[in-house]
C-alpha cells in the first residue's frame, strides 16, 4: 500500500474548457494534501483542452496536472474514460482520488472502482485525514439523509470519494504559481466503446439556483402550493433565486430544479434564507456551507436554527410580508 502516494482530483472539461468543479476539488484536495504531507495532482481526460485552463489548475493549487487527450475522450463516454483513468491509476498509484458527484463523476468513479477493486464513497460532505493511520475519513449523509456516516477504505488503494458540486468554494487563484504539466499518450487500444454520442439537447430555461449569491428556500411550513408567491415576493425583494426542500418538490409545489439538499442541489450562496424550513439533515447537506444563514420558523427547536446565524421564531405568514416590505424599503432608500 505504501506504493500509493499523493492526493489526486479528477478535473472535468466540456468543449475543451475546464469546469468549475475542478477548482472546487482543488480546494478539497489542497487541504487533504497538506494534512497528509503530500502533493496534489489534477488528472484530466479530454480533447483539445485549453492550455491556459491547465495552467489555471496549477495556479489554483495543483502541483502537477496529468492530462490525457484523445478524440474518444472529447465527451464523456464511460468505457474509454474508465479505461484511460484505470490505466493512469495503475501507472501513478495515487493514494487518494476524489471526483465531483456530477453526472460524469457518479458514473465513471463506480465503474473504475469495481475494475481496480477499491472502495468508493459517494457524496461526501466532509473529507479528513485520520491522525496516525493517514486513512481518508469520508463522511456523508445516509439513511435518507437522517444521519451522518464516516467511512474508511482500509485495505485497498486508491481511496476514492465523490463530493457534491458547490459544496466548497473554488480554490483561489495564485497567478504565476508553478507546477508540472504531464501529457500522456492514450493507450493504443483505448476502446471507443459501445456507446455512441449522437447529439446534445441543451436546456432551454436556466436554473439560476446553483450560481445565485442569494437563495431563499421554502419548506413545508408554507402549507399549500398557493402560498408560494408569498415567498417568491421575499426572494424578489432580495434579488434571490427561489429554492425548496424535498417535501415541497415532492408535493409538486415547485419543480425539481428548485430542490436543495442531498437529493437535489447543493448551494453555497452568500446568503441563504429558509422560510418554513425545519432543517432535516437531507436539506442541511445542501445548504449548510452558505456564508450567512437566516431562518424563519414557528418551532423554536427546529434544527435549522442550529445552523443559522439569525433565526426568527414566528409564524411565517405574519413575518414574511413585513420582512419583505422592510427589505424593499431598505433597498430603495440606499
Amino acid at each position: 500500500m505504501t506504493a500509493f502516494q499523493g492526493v489526486w482530483i479528477l478535473a472535468e472539461q466540456s468543449a475543451g474548457r475546464v469546469l468549475r468543479i475542478s477548482h472546487e476539488l482543488l480546494a478539497r484536495g489542497r487541504e487533504l494534501a497538506q494534512k497528509r504531507g503530500t502533493d496534489l495532482t489534477a488528472v484530466l481526460l479530454g480533447w483539445n483542452v485549453c492550455r491556459e485552463d491547465l495552467q489555471e489548475l496549477i495556479e489554483r493549487g495543483a502541483d502537477r496536472v496529468v492530462v490525457m487527450e484523445s478524440p474518444v475522450l472529447e465527451h464523456f463516454l464511460v468505457e474509454p474514460a474508465a479505461a484511460a483513468l484505470a490505466e493512469i491509476i495503475r501507472q501513478y498509484k495515487p493514494e487518494i482520488l476524489i471526483a465531483g458527484a456530477t453526472s460524469t463523476g457518479r458514473t465513471l468513479m463506480p465503474y473504475v472502482a469495481v475494475g481496480i477493486h477499491t472502495g468508493l464513497t459517494a457524496d461526501c460532505t466532509v473529507l479528513d485525514i485520520e491522525a496516525g493511520t493517514g486513512n481518508l475519513l469520508q463522511t456523508r449523509p445516509t439513511i435518507g439523509g437522517n444521519v451522518l456516516a464516516t467511512i474508511k477504505t482500509q485495505n485497498d488503494r486508491p481511496q476514492m470519494a465523490t463530493v457534491r458540486p458547490r459544496s466548497t468554494r473554488p480554490a483561489p487563484r495564485d497567478p504565476g504559481r508553478r507546477g508540472e504539466i504531464i501529457r500522456l499518450q492514450p493507450p493504443e487500444d483505448l476502446p471507443p466503446g459501445r456507446i455512441k454520442r449522437l447529439g446534445f439537447v441543451p436546456d432551454q430555461d436556466e436554473h439560476p439556483l446553483a450560481d445565485a449569491d442569494v437563495a431563499v428556500a421554502v419548506g413545508r411550513g408554507i402549507k399549500k402550493g398557493e402560498n408560494i408567491p408569498l415567498v417568491q415576493r421575499l426572494a424578489n425583494s432580495l434579488g434571490a433565486a427561489l429554492g425548496a426542500t424535498r417535501d415541497v418538490v415532492d408535493r409538486g409545489w415547485l419543480s425539481y430544479p428548485h430542490q436543495i439538499g442531498l437529493s437535489g442541489q447543493t448551494i453555497t450562496p452568500k446568503l441563504y434564507v429558509g422560510v418554513g424550513v425545519s432543517g432535516s439533515i437531507q436539506h442541511l447537506a445542501g445548504m449548510q456551507t452558505s456564508e450567512t444563514i437566516v431562518a424563519v420558523n414557528n418551532d423554536p427547536d427546529a434544527p435549522i436554527f442550529q445552523v443559522a446565524d439569525l433565526g426568527i421564531v414566528g409564524d411565517l405568514f405574519e413575518v414574511v410580508p413585513v420582512l419583505t416590505e422592510r427589505i424593499k424599503q431598505s433597498r430603495s432608500s440606499s
Binding site: A113, K196, R197, I281, P300, D309, G314, R331
Partner: protein, 265 residues
C-alpha cells in the same frame, strides 16, 4: 427480449431513528418498501416488454423478508422475481453488492437490458448500477430520462446531465439507470397481486451462485462504516421572537439591520 431489473427493499427512511446511546439505527417498526426510484425502472421494463415481447425478471439482494418487494414487482407486472439471500451477503457495500447482483444476472442467462433505479433512498449512493455494468463488462448509461427506441440490437436514449440531454446510442446488452422523468409507475392490479401471491420466489444463495469466498458481505467490502452519528451543528444563532405583532416588527427591523451589517442588502 429479456430485461432484468435489480431492486432494493429499503426502510421508509423518514421513519428511521438513531439510537444516540449506541449510534445504531432503530429499524424496528419501520415499514419496508420497494425503493421508490426502482419503481421507475420496473415501469420502463414492463412498457418495453409490452412493446417488444419477452420477459422482465426482477432480482433483489436482501434478507428473506425482501421477497415481499419482489412480489410487489410481480404484482406490477414483472414476470418473475429471484431473491438473493445469504448470511454471507450481510454488510455488503456497493462493490460487494454489485458483485452479487452481477453474478445473479449472469446466472439468469442471456439478456438485453439491465434497468436500475438511479439510486436507493436509504444509501443514496447510485453506485450499484455502474458497478453491475463494470462487473459484467458492459456499457452503462446513467440518468436515462427517455428511451427513444430499442431495435436492431441497439437502444437510443436521452441521458439527463447538468445542462441538458445527451442523445446516446448503445449496443445491447447495456445497463441503464433511470431518473423519475422516464415514466409514471403503475399501481399493482388485483390480478397482478393474485399472481404474485400464488407465484414462487426462488432464493439463490452464495453457494448456488458459486461466489468466491471473501468477496461478499463485510469481508468482501472495500469500504467500512466506522462511525454513525447525528451532526453537531455549530453556528451561534441570534434568535428573535416574533410571536406577536410588535415582535414581528422588531424582528423584521433587526433582520434588515443584520443583513446591512453583513453587506448583504
Amino acid at each position: 427480449m429479456r430485461i432484468i431489473v435489480p431492486i432494493k427493499q429499503v426502510p421508509e427512511t423518514s421513519a428511521v431513528r438513531l439510537d444516540e446511546q449506541t449510534g445504531t439505527m432503530i429499524r424496528e417498526g419501520v415499514e419496508a418498501i420497494v425503493n421508490p426510484l426502482d419503481l421507475y425502472a420496473i415501469e420502463l421494463a414492463i412498457q418495453l416488454r409490452e412493446q417488444l415481447g419477452g420477459e422482465v425478471v426482477s432480482i433483489s439482494m436482501g434478507p428473506p423478508k425482501a421477497a415481499t418487494s419482489l412480489r410487489e414487482a410481480v404484482a406490477m407486472g414483472c414476470d418473475r422475481g429471484v431473491l438473493l439471500s445469504d448470511k454471507a451477503f450481510a454488510g455488503s457495500d456497493t462493490w460487494a453488492t454489485s458483485y452479487v447482483l452481477s453474478e445473479a444476472i449472469r446466472r439468469i442467462g442471456v439478456f438485453d437490458l439491465v434497468i436500475c433505479g438511479e439510486r436507493a433512498t436509504d444509501g443514496d449512493t447510485g453506485q450499484v448500477g455502474p458497478g453491475i455494468a463494470a462487473f459484467l463488462n458492459l456499457p452503462v448509461v446513467t440518468y436515462v430520462a427517455k428511451v427513444d427506441s430499442v431495435d436492431n440490437g441497439t437502444c437510443r436514449v436521452r441521458r439527463r446531465v447538468e445542462d441538458g440531454y445527451e442523445l446516446l446510442e448503445a449496443s445491447l446488452p447495456v445497463v441503464l439507470t433511470v431518473v423519475k422523468e422516464i415514466a409514471n409507475p403503475r399501481l399493482p392490479t388485483l390480478r397482478g397481486k393474485q399472481r404474485a401471491k400464488a407465484g414462487d420466489i426462488p432464493v439463490w444463495d452464495a453457494e448456488l451462485l458459486n461466489l468466491q469466498a471473501g468477496q461478499t458481505g463485510l469481508s468482501g467490502s472495500p469500504t467500512r462504516v466506522v462511525k454513525i452519528f447525528k451532526p453537531k451543528l455549530a453556528r451561534r444563532c441570534e434568535k428573535l421572537n416574533a410571536l406577536d405583532e410588535q415582535g414581528v416588527e422588531l424582528a423584521a427591523d433587526r433582520c434588515v439591520e443584520f443583513l446591512r451589517e453583513r453587506n448583504l442588502l
